[in-house]
Subunit: 474 residues, 2 copies
Amino acid sequence: MCKEKTKQKIKSQEDQLSLELIEAQYDLKDSRGTDRAKSVLIIVSGIELAGKGEAVKQLREWVDPRHLHVKATTAELLSTQQTFWETYANSIPSEGELIILFGNWYNDLLKTAMHVSKPLDETLFDAYIQQMRQFEQDLKQNNVDVVKIWFDLSWKSLQKRLDNMNASEQQWHKLHGLDWRNKKEYDTIQKLRQRFSEDWIYIDGEDPIARNQQFAAHVLSAMKDLPQHNGLVEHQWQQSPIPEQLTQIENQPLDKAEYKQQLKKLSLKVARAMLQHQRRVIIVFEGMDAAGKGGAIKRIVKRLDPREYEITSIAAPEPFELRHPYLWRFWRKLEENNSLIHIFDRSWYGRILVERVEGFAKPFEWQRAYDEINRFEKDLVDTQTVVVKIWLAISKDEQEKRFKAREETPRKQYKITDEDWRNRAKWDDYLNAAADMFERSITPYAPWHIIATDNKRQARLDIFQAILKQLKAD
Amino acid sequence: MCKEKTKQKIKSQEDQLSLELIEAQYDLKDSRGTDRAKSVLIIVSGIELAGKGEAVKQLREWVDPRHLHVKATTAELLSTQQTFWETYANSIPSEGELIILFGNWYNDLLKTAMHVSKPLDETLFDAYIQQMRQFEQDLKQNNVDVVKIWFDLSWKSLQKRLDNMNASEQQWHKLHGLDWRNKKEYDTIQKLRQRFSEDWIYIDGEDPIARNQQFAAHVLSAMKDLPQHNGLVEHQWQQSPIPEQLTQIENQPLDKAEYKQQLKKLSLKVARAMLQHQRRVIIVFEGMDAAGKGGAIKRIVKRLDPREYEITSIAAPEPFELRHPYLWRFWRKLEENNSLIHIFDRSWYGRILVERVEGFAKPFEWQRAYDEINRFEKDLVDTQTVVVKIWLAISKDEQEKRFKAREETPRKQYKITDEDWRNRAKWDDYLNAAADMFERSITPYAPWHIIATDNKRQARLDIFQAILKQLKAD
C-alpha cells in the first residue's frame, strides 16, 4: 500500500516535470526572433553504463520529442590539421532549438587522450580544455547556452552492470573504445575528467530515477533561463587613430615589361608555395570598393588547377544564418569545403566593417567580435592553417576615377552599383572601422598586410609578396 | 607576321567571349528571385588528358571566378544502400548560381561499371542511366539546367600525351582509377559512354584552343537561355473522388487493459523489425491537425534508443530552400542524417497538400510534384529503404472536440493556435487535396496507409500494424 502511494507520488511529480518541460520547450521555440532568443546545447559524456542513453530516452518521453534533437556520432581522434569544432558546425543549435550531443569535442578529446600508441600529455590536455571552454564562452555570448553533463558511476557499480548486461545490449557500449573491465583505464578516465573545467555538472548514475530526474531538471533550467539581450552593457569605445597607410597611398609607376616578368615569376612561386606542404591556406581580401580584390584573385588562381581552390564571396547573411552565432556560417564554409586553398572575397571581418558602419550589428556585438575573430583565427593557425589577411588600400580620388571608368566601360558596368556610391559617402566611417580593426586584429599569427593599390601593377606584385611572406616562402 | 595577326585575332575573339560570359554570369545571378530565375549545373567527364581541367581553368580565367563554383570529389562506387543523388545534394546550384561538377554521378557510375571484381552488366548500366536522366529532368523542371559534357580523346593522342607527361603533373590523373595505357580498358570506357543518353555534348580534346572555346560557348549558351516560368501551361485538372475512409471514420471502443497489452507487444515488435535488417526506414506522417501525429510518434520512439532515430518536423521552407528544387531540402535532410530510422512529422507531401491549398505552389508546380515524389520514393526504395506513409484520418466533429479540449487543458494549449482553426475552415479543400494524393501516390513500393483515429487507442495499434505490414514483418 505504501509502495503504491510512493509510485503515485513519483508519477504525479513526473507529470508536473513533463508539463514544465513542454512549456519551456515551447517558450524556447517561441523566443526565436525576439530579444530573448537563445538555443540550448547539452553535451553529455561519462562512464559507460552510467545511463546517459537512458536519461536522454526518458527526457525524450517527457518532452515533445519533435523539438528535441539528438546527435550521436562516434568519438574521433582530434586532428592536428583541423580545429576541434569544425566537424560540429552543423550540430550547433539554431535560435529556439534544443540539441543533445552524444558525439562531442570532449569525447574526441578523451579518445585522443586515451589513445593507445600516442596518449596526450597533461599540458596538452589542459590546453585543449582551455580552448574548448573559450569556444563555449563565445557560443554563450552568442546566445547558445552550453550545458555539460557528466554521468558518473563507481567502479563497483560499473562492474556489476557489466555482469548483468545481455549481449544484445552491447551495441552502444563502445564509447572511447575502452575496456571497462580494466581498472587502470577506468582510473585514468576519472583522473582526466577531473581536469575538466568546473562548469561541468556531475550526475551520479547509481539510482536511475534520481539520475533521470536530475538530468531533466538541468535541461529544464537551461531552457527556462532566457537572456535579455538588451541588458548587455556597451563599453566606452576608444577609437584608434587612422594609420597613415590608409590615407597616404603611394603611387609609383611601374614599367609594363618589368611588371609582366615579375608577375609571372611571383605568381608561379606563390602557387608552388601554397601547394607545397599540403596545409590549408586561407586568403582574406578586404578593402574599399574598386581597390582591386577581383583582379587580385584572378591573378592568384591563374596558376592553380580549378579543383585545388575555392573562392567564397561574402554577401549579407541569410535569415537562417542570423539565427546562429555570427561566425557560424564561416565554420560551415570551412567544413563543407575540402579544397586546400580558400580565398575569401570579403570575410568575417564584415562584422566590424560593414555591419558596424551600417548598424546591422549592435555595438556590444561588433565590440566583442574582435576577440571572437582572433580566437577563431588562432584555432585555425594552431591546426596548421596559414591565414593571410590582405587589406587593399586606395585613395579616395583613385576610387572615384575607377568608379567613373567602370560606368563608362561595358565590360565593367556590372561592377558598379548605387550601393558603391552610397558606401563611398561613408568613407570616413569605413576608415575608422578599418583603423580599429588593425589595432585589434593584427596578431602575431595572423597579421594584416596593407597594400597600396592606386598603382594596380605594383599592388598585384605586393599582394604576391605578402602571401609569400605569410607562407614563410619569401 | 601572319602568325602575329592570327594571334591578335584569337585574342580579340577571346576578349569578346569573355565579355559575353561575364555579362551572362551577371544576368544569371540577377535572375534570382525573378520569374526567369534558373541555375546551371555543368557535369564534366571524359577521357583522361583530354583537357577537362584545362578547359575549366581557361573558362575560369574568362569569367568572374568568384561566381563560378567548381566541385571536385573522387569518384565513388555506387552503393546499393544509398541513392546516387544523395551525396550530391550540396552540389546542386541555388538560383542564379553556376557550378561545375568534376565529381558527379556519371563518374561514380563509370567507376562502378569498370570495377574490377564486380563489373555492372549492361542492363543495370542502362537502368542507372535512365534513372539519372529522370533525376536531371526533374532538376530541369525545377529550373536547374543540367549540361553534360564529355571530353573525348583518341587512343593515339592519349598515348602521346601520356608519353609527354611529367611526373609532377600526375596528381589529378586518377579518374576512375583506370590504367590509361591499357587499350582494352580504353575501349570499354568508350563503349560505355556510348550508352549515355543522347543529351550529352562531346568535345574533342585534340586541339586545346578549339576545345576550350567550345566548352566556354556551351556554358555561355546555357547561362543565356533563361526560362520564362510563367509560360508553362497548366493541365486541365481532374479531381479525384474523396475515398470513404476519409469521411466515414469508424469509432469502435477498445478496452484499456486490452489496449495496453497490445500496445506493448506491437511496439516492441515494431522496434525489433525496424532495426533488424540495418536498412533505412522512413516513416511519414500526414493528416489533419489533432489527428494524433505527435502521440503516435511518441509511442513509436518509446522503444528506441534516442541515438537510433531522428524526428524531423516539417514547417514552411526557408528562403534559401526556396531557391532550390522543391525536394532539395529533403535530399539534404537524408544526406545530413545518419540515423537508420527517420520519422517525418509532415513531409514532402506538403507540396500537394498545404502548398496547393494555400496557393504557395503554382498549379503547374504541384501538378508535376506527384511524379517527382513518386520517383524520389522509388529511388529510395530501390536502395533498400522502407518508406512507410501513414495518413491519420479524423472526423470533423472529433477534430472540433479535440481542439476545444486542447484549449482547456494547460498541458495541451501549446498544441492549438489560430492557424489550426483557419486550416479547419478549409477542411474540404484539404480532403480534395488528400484524395488526389491517394489517387496519384499510392504506389506498389510505397502505398499509403489510411488510419482512422477517432478512437485514439485503436488508431495507435493500427499504426503499428501498418508499419509492420510495410516492413513485411506482420
